[in-house]
Amino acid sequence: MITQRFFSADRRIAVAVFILLAAAVVVPLLNLAIAPSSALYVPPYIVALVGKYLCYALLALALDLVWGYCGILSLGHGAFFALGGYAMGMYLMRQIGSRGVYGNPILPDFMVFLNYKELPWFWHGFDHFWFAATMVLAVPGLLAFVFGWFAFRSRVTGVYLSIITQAMTYALLLAFFRNDMGFGGNNGLTDFKDILGFNVQADATRSALFAASAVTLALAVLLTAAIVGSKYGKLLMAVRDAESRTRFLGWRAENVKLFAFTVSAIMAGIAGALYVPQVGIINPGEFEPSSSIEVVIWTAVGGRGTIVGPIIGALLVNAGKSWFTGVLPEFWLFALGGLFVAVTLLLPKGIVGMWDSWRGNARATRAASLAAEAGADPEAPKIVRSAARTPGAWSASGAEPQPAE
């Protein structure tokens, strides 16, 4: 039945999945099998860079599931991303073994440096990949579940929820900066050597990680499409648009949100886990509240409430960031700030949303002219969407300030 939904899914999603899967095959090939002198050769740094973008795209998609489809503006997705990254980083640290600077077979370098006598309890098990992989899913998922359980049950909504997710991120930032937390403090985890026995620096490993990111993103697209297309997905949007109505219909809106929030946090965690071996470091900076807000702008630029939008947004904004930081580093924050303002004011539905309404309008105009030719009332086909079509229009009432929800 789910497969059936896959086939009937939007063509755009099919195209996106196809492109991702194709990239997963072609890019590593162009990197590994082609001579560096060839025009088709993809240099390793491009592989790593785009691989990183794909992780960001997965993160943006995760945020879109809760923000675009359920109206929960989480400013804490960077934290879930970082937690997944730390879980993977801990595995990579354990893989270093005695090749560290201090040559301690058990303790990572920073622990030797900080005079740890033995491995803290929460580092046990991370020498196994399966355990680390489980933690990548479990830690962000559990945090999101516990946090969401409290927050949604007591009906913390709107900006309040955004602010407390930001406070959560901030608290984690402060915690991970502490040396005695046992996560390497300020410097985080770095100097990785191998993953699953392969050298993380090797071109082949990088290509494999790129392919893994692309395939994971493709799977996440399919999963999100399946969730959104199900009855639950309709319910999710119903909660976004009229939460109290769903309650009076007997739905537990808090559970609806909690499920999406937890799934989304796990997706973010996976993104973080794929990100860390590709960039070679994870540090508390990933918990910065500002990085979490940056994720929001990727999603907004591409178009929230669409599945391809966040991916396009993440790729575009990050490509822009790379370009700016290379060419005009001091202007990047102006550009980013301007982007926040411009998107909210001029492009509330994002690129994909704008494209859709432009096409919708075009179709409506065409239908209207056809109807006029047929002598019918040109007003009849009301395909023109109302303002409430904007996904996540949080207030049904008009444009006026209200006491914050």
Partner: protein
């Protein structure tokens, strides 16, 4: 008063916000299968009463029982809805970004937990039920239309249709004909009378023509308690009601 044969039983209920008593020692009994119209000027406590019955607001004191035995003050909105109380808001509230059909599908009686919803597939029985309701609320030709594109009156009907899909024992209907044309109003009265044949219904309404058309027992609220109760003729002849409405 015995609770045994009542569908809704309120006794001595009070609720206040910041010292303002929205509901003041309100007592109201609705028998099974009964339709009741509630009238009263603005601020009489009609909406707050509905909030209390549906679990949105907790009363400061008093008893609220559903179906003779369930203490509603101990349950929240979703539980109360699942027990069989449906509510239509004063302002029509439908899922604007969903089609008419999807609106009904979400309201349709059935399991209300996440995983069944995730793997839900429409059964033939459900499709039939949706067809039936679309017929009842006269929206058969709007099945695939987005709810946002419906007219105000059509949204009211869709919301009533969603209530029907829930298959509740008791319907609370807040101002169903606000903003409707006369023809639509008449149609709505007929629709509600249809529904009342196998449901208990409370209708809050200002429109006296509509209330007359319903032809049921009327309760007039004022300042959070019952001012007068009886047939419409009886209530409208009551000195105090006249005074409240005309401000004499």
């Amino acid at each position: 008063m015995s609770k045994s044969n009542t569908i809704l039983y309120l006794d001595g209920v009070s609720a206040s916000f910041d010292g303002f008593r929205a509901i003041n020692n309100l007592s109201l009994v609705l028998d099974k299968g009964e339709m009741r119209a509630i009238i009263g000027p603005n601020g009489a406590g009609k909406t707050t009463m509905m909030d209390i019955v549906t679990g949105k607001t907790r009363p400061d004191e008093g008893e609220v029982f559903f179906d003779g035995q369930v203490d509603l003050t101990r349950h929240d909105e979703a539980e109360i809805a699942m027990m069989g109380i449906g509510r239509k808001f004063q302002k029509p509230t439908v899922f604007e970004n969903h089609s008419v059909e999807d609106n009904l599908m979400l309201a349709l009686k059935g399991p209300r937990s996440i995983f069944p919803a995730l793997f839900h597939r429409r059964s033939a029985a459900e499709a039939r039920r949706i067809d039936d309701i679309l017929g009842i609320i006269r929206l058969g030709d709007k099945r695939d239309e987005l709810a946002a594109n419906l007219s105000h009156g059509q949204k009211q009907w869709l919301e009533i249709g969603m209530l029907l899909a829930q298959d509740p024992k008791l319907l609370l209907v807040d101002e169903p004909v606000a903003g409707m044309t006369d023809a639509e109003t008449e149609e709505t009265a007929r629709l509600l009378k249809d529904i009342a044949r196998d449901h208990s219904v409370i209708v809050v309404e200002h429109d006296m023509h509509f209330v007359r058309e319903l032809g049921v027992k009327v309760t007039c609220l004022h300042e959070g308690s019952v001012l007068s109760e009886g047939t419409l003729d009886f209530v409208s002849a009551d000195e105090r009601v006249v005074e409240v409405y005309l401000g004499r």
